[in-house]
């Protein structure tokens, strides 16, 4: 994984020297040529082809943007409601993620989407305690997070 990125950057610099133009556009061109070369050489390099992960990362960003916009409108609808009828509460989210990096990414994404806020992380690093604005059904909420964010993060890191 890391060695592939280093190769790609090296190829980009080589391309800059070969074409004798030293600007950002030439660097990006070199990166693209490097990505194509690495695609043909992927059998001889360790790990999965890393552009796949870049693609999944972009996909994660789009999932996040969609959730952000939808849930902001849900919160705003609650703000302008004449009577406070929501049922807030703290629920437990068991997670399959292992490393600290994945866990902090998940909890930050959960905190960033309106309607859910990470209050605490369990001692075993396997559970997140999440405060939700409107919590009629705990199971539905857990499945929602598992199917969107957790799945997308697992695709990026594994």
């Amino acid at each position: 994984m890391a060695i592939q990125i280093i190769f790609n950057v090296l190829i980009a610099f080589m391309w800059m020297f070969l074409s004798e133009t030293y600007d950002f556009v030439a660097f990006v061109k070199g990166l693209m040529i490097g990505a194509i070369l690495l695609f043909f050489l992927r059998r001889f390099l360790p790990g999965k082809y890393y552009i796949v992960r870049v693609y999944k990362l972009i996909k994660l960003n789009f999932i996040f943007l969609r959730e952000l916009i939808f849930s902001t409108f849900a919160i705003i609808a609650l703000v302008y409601k004449p009577k406070m009828t929501m049922e807030p509460g703290i629920f437990k989210l068991p997670t399959e993620l292992k490393s600290d990096w994945e866990l902090s990414l998940l909890s930050n994404l959960i905190s960033l989407t309106p309607g859910t806020l990470t209050v605490a992380v369990g001692d075993d690093n396997r559970t997140l305690y999440i405060h939700a604005m409107d919590l009629p059904d705990v199971e539905a909420q857990i499945n929602d997070i598992k199917n969107t964010f957790e799945k997308a993060i697992l695709e990026v890191t594994r």
């Binding site: 902001t72 509460g89 960033l112 209050v119």
Partner: protein, 112 residues
């Protein structure tokens, strides 16, 4: 045409910010208020910065990296402050709103 897009972005940004402030006033307890304070405001600031980025790009021809970095840093820091405030509130014993349905955390804390 592009002016309409910029105006929509700026107006949406201000609308989100105002709704966030109203939410801080209206919601019943610390945790629900944090939702309004840290989230709606995030999207509001992001919309305003994006609107000014598009304005600078099409009107002045400047690609302003600072504005994009501003959006990135707001997105990085907002969840951390929200998490830390709610954690500090919970650990110092601030109660949830009385109509709150579930509290799995208090049970797990008592076990230890």
């Amino acid at each position: 045409m592009i002016e309409i897009l910029i105006s929509i972005l700026l107006l949406l940004g201000t609308f989100f910010s105002i709704s966030g402030s109203l939410g801080i006033l209206r919601f019943p307890d610390v945790y629900t208020r944090l939702h309004a304070a840290t989230k709606a405001a995030t999207l509001g600031v992001a919309c305003v910065l994006l609107g000014s980025f598009i304005y600078l790009f099409f009107d002045q021809g400047i690609i302003s990296g600072k504005l994009l970095l501003g959006i990135l840093f707001v997105l990085i820091t907002a969840p951390i402050s929200g998490h830390m405030i709610s954690r500090a509130a919970y650990n110092s014993g601030v109660d949830l709103w009385e109509r709150s349905e579930k509290d799995h955390l208090s049970k797990d804390l008592k076990k230890n």
